[in-house]
């Protein structure tokens, strides 16, 4: 579809950066570093490019490079899982709605509209705070439960957004002649969806999914900053939240996760944009 060499220089950089992030997310824990919660008691609040700590440490003595790698894993994992789940469920619902039409479409479209009537972050915030609440406030909610809750909430937020796009795309494609032709030849609906609708709708969805990953990364960071996401520097948002405590004397604690987050979002946005333009070009030729 797209060749790496044909991409522009900035886009190539974006692809490489995303590759690096994926590599860190998958293999980050195998790299020869101490665990990210290891405390360097002699190097508190060291600035970046110091010997032994290329990105510096924060005032608790956590090395920021290993923290950032651990944060990469958490943020990327949440983003990819939520977008994957939301995309699967959303596109299944959207394609069904547009293909079956009638009452199913009415119910599903209304459901999408209901989901879209609450601003994304407000909905995610409400879901997370409700789902993650504990009977006893003094008992800390375990990390895995917070991660689960975050993923579930962000998935629920994404379903109507991606579902509506899938529905719209399916509507335009299912009106095409080749679908009518396939139907007149006696092809079953499930076959038509599999052979004709999905391959055509998928590229648009993939382009949107890249944009959605950026949105989810930012949403996760916002939630962590508000104190309902990943606590204690476990993700980029968590690192930002922790860096906030001491931004007057060691601002680099804040800059490092912000830089990681911003470059990643720039990259996913750029890739999504390139994919979308490519699609538009193809559409124009048809």
């Amino acid at each position: 579809m797209l060749k790496f060499k044909e991409l522009s220089k900035p886009t190539q950089l974006c692809v490489l950066w995303i590759g690096l992030m994926l590599f860190l997310a998958v293999f980050g824990s195998f790299l020869p570093f101490e665990h990210w919660t290891f405390v360097y008691e002699d190097d508190l609040g060291v600035t970046p490019f110091s010997p032994g700590h290329i990105l510096g440490t924060d005032n608790n003595g956590y090395d920021l490079l290993t923290s950032a790698i651990a944060g990469t894993r958490m943020s990327i994992f949440i983003a990819i899982t939520a977008v994957g789940l939301g995309g699967l469920i959303g596109s299944a619902l959207g394609i069904t709605a547009a293909f079956v039409r009638g009452k199913v479409d009415l119910v599903l479209s209304t459901a999408f509209n209901v989901g879209l009537a609450i601003p994304n972050l407000v909905l995610a915030l409400a879901l997370v705070s409700v789902l993650a609440s504990n009977v006893d406030m003094t008992v800390v909610v375990p990390i895995w439960r917070r991660v689960m809750v975050l993923i579930i909430s962000l998935t629920i937020v994404l379903i109507p957004i991606l579902g509506r796009i899938a529905r719209g795309a399916t509507l335009t494609w299912s009106g095409r002649e080749f679908v009518t032709a396939a139907r007149s030849m006696g092809m079953r609906d499930s076959q038509i969806i599999k052979k004709h609708i999905v391959p055509n709708v998928l590229p648009a969805l993939i382009a949107v999914a890249f944009l959605a990953i950026g949105v989810v990364i930012i949403a996760e960071a916002s939630l962590s900053l508000l104190g309902v996401g990943i606590p204690d520097g476990g993700s980029w948002g968590g690192m930002i939240a922790r860096g906030r405590n001491d931004l007057e004397y060691s601002p680099h604690v804040l800059y490092i996760p912000v830089i990681f987050l911003a470059i990643t979002v720039v990259s996913t946005n750029q890739i999504g944009e390139v994919l979308r333009n490519k699609l538009d070009g193809r559409e124009a030729k048809v």
């Binding site: 009537a117 609450i118 972050l121 946005n269």
Partner: protein, 321 residues
Amino acid sequence: MQKLSFWLQRVSQLLVVLLLVTFGVSLLIRIIPVDLATIVMPVADETQRAAFRASIGLDKGPIGYYLQWLGNFVHGDLGNIYYSGGTETVSGHLIKAMPRSLLLMSYTQIFALGVAIPLGVLSAYRAGRRADRVISNTLFIFSSIPGFAIGLILIIIVGTKFEWLPTLGYATFSEGIWEHFKHMIMPVLSLSLGLIAQYTRLLRADMIASLREDYVTMAMSKGLSDRRILWRHVFRPSSVTLFTSAALSMGGLIGGAIVIESIFATYGVGFEIFAAIGGRQYIMLQSCVAVIALFYVFFNLVVDIGSGFVDPRTRDRRANA
């Protein structure tokens, strides 16, 4: 006549959506894994808790609870905030918080449009040249940096390093106009940079398309000045898209404002939601989310009607869709 029935249909659709949204939010309260009465009255005995549940309708099942809440909501009673010392009404808090959020959002939109319109027109006029490339690339990077990150960086540089602006709080008009704006500059900047990028890109794309139209060639051959063509013949049709998209970005703005208000302690609606979650005031959370949804849906309707009036073409397109 057909127009009227179209709008009636649209309004009734929105009403259904609103009812379903508020019902969904009230269901959220019921799926909390914690008993609400226990949170509100940690030391009370069971009869007191039962009385509390009955008073807000929690004993009546999902639909009964919703109807009671809706009845109160329509009459302006948004429930209470429960402290160990007593209660306060949510509506009282919201009446204080609402103007602040609305001001913050209006300033943001005005500032974003005020910067984006000249930038967009300039980069469309110089499309492909250096000015356009600089503007587009800079803004593309800004569009990807979340508002809270910009806000925190502003706090570091403007707030703590140079101490030009206060980093926390809100000042009312009665405390002095300049004082008021001093507290607003950083929140508005952090919220609007992303919007500026979005608007500029949109306006640029739309205007470049309009510049290719025949009537522009016609206007040029008549010898009209570039300035007049740009603003009168090209910007005007493109502005409809811009203002519609500005209105649609309201949802993201509301979400972004929650984070920004909690960073800068603006005490707007977003801050109230943040406080409601921190203090586990779930009834307040429910009412706040309902108010936001109401505002958002209503706003979209107004925009729909407005853009239909401004540009009849969108009206026809919507009616056919």
